[in-house]
């Protein structure tokens, strides 16, 4: 059987074995390609097994009752294991957020693009620098130079719209996907 295969191969080959592309070269390349592709496909489950599992992904939305929040009060809720800051902003805070010259911002974004209703600011409470939790949720916390939040790790200052104003963080606090189910309930995620 093997002999027959070799014979067949040899007969069908050009005579000059030394140069040019031979059928054997093709077989080498085909085998290597097939093997590499196979290994890549086999590796994918090993890679994907480290991604968030179904039960982690399932925790990806949270409903929040806004009724008990007083004006000027900030609350923290947990979404996907991370804190989400909800700020019922006072008119002064809204004015401060809206009156900023966009050119003065590190990550320019108007306040209107970051809120659905000006009274309610909803942002992920994770510093965009290296993932620390900024301070400012309590009245006794330092709120930073712009009246928003202050990250104690490396000194990033956020304004009343959660935008980065000073410090090493490259981006504004992330606005999570959310919608108002009614006037006093918001669904985050």
């Amino acid at each position: 059987m093997i002999d027959w295969l070799w014979t067949m191969t040899d007969k069908s080959q050009p005579v000059d074995h030394g140069k040019g592309e031979t059928r054997r070269d093709f077989l080498y390349v085909a085998t290597a390609t097939f093997g590499t592709l196979g290994a890549a496909f086999a590796a994918w489950p090993l890679i994907d097994v480290m991604n968030p599992s179904a039960e982690v992904r399932a925790l990806s939305s949270t409903e929040v009752d806004l009724a008990p929040i007083a004006e000027g009060q900030r609350i923290t809720i947990k979404w996907r294991g991370r804190p989400v800051f909800i700020d019922r902003r006072t008119p002064e805070r809204i004015r401060a957020a809206e009156s900023v010259d966009l050119d003065a911002l590190i990550d320019p974004q108007p306040d209107s693009a970051r809120t659905q209703r000006p009274e309610w600011l909803v942002v992920v409470g994770v510093c965009t620098h290296l993932g620390c939790i900024p301070l400012g949720q309590k009245a006794t916390d330092p709120w930073g130079e712009y009246g928003g939040w202050f990250c104690p790790c490396h000194g990033s200052h956020y304004d009343t719209s959660g935008r980065i104003r000073k410090g090493p963080a490259p981006k504004n606090l992330e606005v999570p996907p959310y919608e108002f189910l009614d006037d006093s309930t918001v669904l985050i995620g």
């Binding site: 982690v56 294991g81 620098h129 290296l130 620390c132 939790i133 104690p152 490396h154």
Partner: protein, 426 residues
Amino acid sequence: MSERTWNNRLIKWVDDRLPVFTILKNELIDYPTPKNLSYWWNFGSLAGVMLVIMTVTGIFLAMHYTPHVDLAFVSVERIMRDVNYGWLLRYIHLNGGSAFFLVVYIHLFRGLYYGSYKSPREVLWWLGLIILILMMATAFMGYVLPWGQMSFWAATVITSLFTAIPFVGETITTWLWGGFTVGNPTLNRFYSLHYLLPFVIFAVVFLHMLALHTSKSNNPLGIDVKGPQDTLPFHPYYTVKDLLGLGVLLAILMGFVFFAPNFFGEPENYIPADPFLTPAHIVPEWYFLPFYAILRAVPDIWFIPAKLAGLMAMAASLLILFALPWLDTSKVRSARFRPIYKQVFWILVVDCIVLGWAGANPPEGIYLIVGRIATAYYFFHFLILMPLLGFMERPHPLPESISEPVVKGAGAVAGGAAAEPMEKAR
């Protein structure tokens, strides 16, 4: 000498089929070692002993540890209070990490001073650097396991570095975490990898030894061995020298274990991890401080944001060492014969200590300025000074042989006769 046959018939029978005894004899007993090695050459074997100590204590700690966010902290406290000698194993493991890094850093700077990275030892040097990087990964993941506040926030800050990678950063970070934050999946995989990596280190250490025994040890003079008159058998001359060093190291290590077990620790790490409360001041373990300083020193560079630039600088500070055999243009290995490099070397040592000091403090005011200058100097040393010195420096004349400065008038020829009595005395 390797032709000698074994007297014991059982040993001979095994050795004929699996030459372990011959290999051990050649590599650990007869192995020709330059006869002028100083105590700075202890640190390789000391690092090997530390690896064994860390692995052994770690295996027994793992029998009592639970890798779950709700139980990890408690299980570590149980090890401390309830498990027989659990406190001892944990404190040895905890302080052993610091000892391991101390020994390895001295070993590395020994190599820098005596030019041990130069031809023909480039691959030996690379393997050492790979061991260092693997050690860093292992130590970082091990620090996360007790699930205290520093564990959690160190894990958050360091893994968040990967978000700086353009386009795929977020995806990679989520993949590393196995969730949307550092959480239970992260703790589990860190535990798995913390157990795995030491065995990978053992494998690379084996290659490191293979490369060492191929090119043989460098020595304080940095010149090649000319013949048997320049060497001594490894046993008993260096086994006994290494054992003395080991005694000193163990005395220091156990001194910390028994009298100041939390000297290198952070009190904050005895508070259980709280994902909603960041400690005011996050610092890594001392052995990461210089790298942490470099990470935070770099500002925005042109279009590269500071976060990415810092990550790149930190990676470069390690990767640059791989190119050192070619960045150093001097033909002379040992700093003993390089009058300028000898001084520049100590400036680099001071620079690394200054970086550590900057890394231990918040990145503002004077600390940030000092951190930036020290970072710039670090790269200046390797990228500018090392290549230039090879051309500008005039080295002192090298001795004829290793024996010559030791035995007066003993050159390459007479050295054999001079060294012979010692060989015979054995």
